[in-house]
């Protein structure tokens, strides 16, 4: 199934470039090792053969749109979560819908290297990772191939309830048969949770990769980088780390679509998705709002209703 979709992605990209509808198609290409892919920027129809579609297509390519789709019309290949990032960007007027031609693909879940390691796979032995219906085949050096089930997906995919793109111009693939795990509220009392997060935030080295990889983090000057008005010091320590993470969380609540790229990018493996899911759950409960679903809808922070619930009950 995957190869057929890969062929169709290439064909669609070729059509777009040949008709000059777009000058650039962003997709994924083979990585330097079999269990990784890399973002690809395709400008000529001959190069579409570089495009791939496999369970390692993890990058949310919408992160590149704010830079390239301002200037020209571009094509982009998206998974369902990535399509929701595009909706957010359109809602927030960072790009205009007319400037993107979206090739959307349904998705049973992604397998990144963390997921493979968790499943006990020795990365050095991996020769290929493919879809097998809605589960995964991992072929290793000894010629053996093992089947991983959907439990082995990337952290962000485990609770994903949207397996088909919410917006696209061309849509490929069949609806996968995947049951998302329910989102449970964060466990523990306030002080237990504070202790838990202090312990996690302590590891952060403040490289801001979580921000750079995120399509919703497009501010040209992040509050964390300002030195004319200093919100955080560069001091790596619990107080400033905490400030960074609270700022990040508050700025993404109601906007994060849960692709899980921040957690994947983090070199210190901070469990960012736990926080992201928690604020998404709050926004859903308080305002009945799910981010990135409808480009015509106003973003939750961009609208006000008299009957909005006040979380503090005032």
């Amino acid at each position: 199934m995957a190869n057929e979709i890969e062929a169709r992605i290439r064909a669609e990209a070729k059509k777009l470039l040949e008709s000059s509808e777009v000058t650039l198609v962003i997709g994924w290409e083979a990585g330097s090792v079999p269990f990784k892919t890399s973002p690809a920027f395709i400008e000529s129809p001959e190069d579409v053969e570089r495009l791939v579609w496999n369970p390692a297509c993890t990058n949310n390519l919408a992160v590149y749109l704010t830079e390239v789709a301002k200037r020209a019309r571009v094509g982009i290949v998206v998974k369902p979560c990535d399509s929701r990032s595009i909706v957010t960007l359109v809602q927030e007027k960072q790009i205009s819908r007319e400037n993107v031609t979206i090739i959307g693909v349904t998705c049973p879940g992604i397998v990144d290297d963390t997921a493979l390691k968790k499943a006990g796979v020795r990365l050095i032995d991996v020769l290929a990772v493919d879809w097998n219906g809605d589960s995964f085949n991992v072929t290793t050096g000894s010629g053996k191939s093992s089947v991983l089930t959907l439990d082995a997906v990337k952290e962000g995919c485990r609770t994903c309830a949207h397996r088909a793109p919410v917006i696209s111009d061309v849509s490929l693939g069949e609806m996968p048969d995947a049951n998302p795990l329910p989102v449970e509220p964060m466990e523990g009392s306030f002080s237990e949770r504070r202790e838990y997060w202090a312990n996690e935030f302590e590891r952060c080295i403040r490289c801001y990769a979580c921000r750079q990889i995120c399509p919703a983090c497009y501010c040209t000057k992040c509050f964390a980088d300002r030195n004319d008005l200093k919100w955080t010091n560069k001091h790596v320590g619990i107080s400033d780390n905490w400030m960074w993470h609270m700022g990040r969380a508050m700025h993404l609540a109601g906007r994060c679509i849960g692709c899980g790229e921040c957690e994947r990018a983090c070199p210190m493996d901070l469990p960012m998705m736990k926080l992201n899911r928690e604020f998404a759950r709050h926004v859903e409960e308080l305002f009945g709002y799910t981010p990135g679903m409808d480009p015509e809808e106003l973003p939750v922070l961009g609208q006000f209703n008299y009957d909005d619930k006040d979380p503090n009950g005032h």
């Binding site: 090792v33 890399s38 990058n59 290297d113 990365l123 050095i124 080295i205 070199p267 493996d269 469990p271």
Partner: protein
């Protein structure tokens, strides 16, 4: 200097012995994220030969928060406080050979600088002994043998240790290192021990070299190679590659005021951030991402070769594993060398 062996069950005794007059630091795993260099107080069990992701040794030599001085400004109590640099001697145990090499690169930048030797770095470096483990299970990203000669690199360590299963083979390299091998739990290696140790070494040296091995990138690289632009399109400018790199050592200096105390400290900075080269008046000599991508590769494969006669990359693979868009420095260098990856 004579080689020795120690039973793994006696490892703790050796560590406790060294801890009497040294801080002994080793990579300690956490619930998540790379292992980090922590004082083991002589008592903790450590897994020094594990094939795990470990923070670079710069975590100790160039801490992420390195206080240069504090200035106390309360009226009548004004004074300058300089941190005490006469720290205890430290043993780092569980480095790899690439980590040892990385310290040689840091030495070139911070230590072997005549009158400009960095006092903070030197205070730690002077009293540091390096106990390095010979890798028996390289990671998928490793390419040390491609960028250097491990037999030369090992001379930078004070002691080499090789895992033989139930024992550890211990080789002093320097006198400082020999001084660490005190205790009746050390014994002379048997012929079998020597053979096993040589096997581990032979396996490591047989790690396949990438085809670009031996090519002098500094001479053939082109400033205008389209590869810089190609990679820059993918690069999200997160700087992880440099934060994780054991030889990247660029820093920023910041002042922070808490109450009446002003603290000046050194912290990480990276050439991958656009404001790294931003001048006070707003001019930025490296405004485009492709220039920053180029800088990282050329600093290691050209500028440091010209400056110090050593390749600034140790092939540790940390950047290869951590880059979230799979920019693989091995691929870039292969391209420059016109060789396959």
């Amino acid at each position: 200097m004579a080689d020795k062996v120690i039973a793994k069950t006696d490892l703790r005794k050796w560590l406790a012995g060294m801890a009497a007059d040294h801080d002994v630091i080793a990579p300690i795993g956490r619930e998540a994220g790379p292992a980090t260099w922590k004082d083991i107080n002589g008592t903790q069990d450590i897994d020094i030969t594990a094939n795990q992701m470990v923070m670079a040794a710069k975590e100790f030599l160039l801490p992420v928060h390195d206080v240069l001085f504090r200035f106390h400004t309360r009226k009548g109590e004004e004074r300058l406080e300089v941190p005490d640099l006469t720290n205890k001697s430290t043993v780092m145990i569980g480095l790899r050979l690439c980590d040892v090499r990385a310290i040689s690169v840091l030495d070139a930048v911070y230590y072997n600088q005549g009158p400009f030797r960095d006092a903070y770095y030197a205070a730690r470096r002077d009293k540091l002994a390096l106990v390095a483990a010979v890798c028996d299970d390289p990671r998928w990203s490793c390419f040390c043998t491609t960028v250097g000669d491990l037999k030369e690199w090992k001379l930078g360590a004070d002691v080499l240790i090789t895992d033989l299963g139930d024992k550890i083979y211990v080789q002093p390299v320097t006198e400082k290192g020999e001084g660490l091998l005190q205790g009746d739990f050390f014994s002379s290696p048997s012929e079998d021990d020597v053979r096993k140790k040589s096997e581990v070494w032979a396996n490591l040296l047989a790690l396949p070299k990438r085809p670009f091995a031996g090519k002098d990138i500094s001479k053939i690289v082109s400033w205008d190679d389209p590869v810089w632009e190609e990679q820059a399109r993918k690069c999200i400018g997160c700087g992880i590659c440099t934060f994780m790199c054991p030889t990247c050592s660029c820093f920023d200096i910041q002042d922070e005021t808490t109450g009446s105390v002003i603290e000046r400290y050194r912290c990480r900075d990276t050439c991958q951030f656009s404001d790294f080269t931003m001048m006070g008046a707003g001019h930025n000599p490296r405004p485009e991402k492709k220039m920053r991508v180029r800088q990282r590769v050329l600093h290691k494969f050209k500028y440091q070769v010209e400056q110090f006669d050593l390749i600034g990359c140790t092939g540790c693979g940390r950047c290869v594993e951590s880059c979230p868009v799979n920019i693989d420095i091995r691929g870039i260098v292969s391209h420059i060398a016109a060789e396959p990856l």
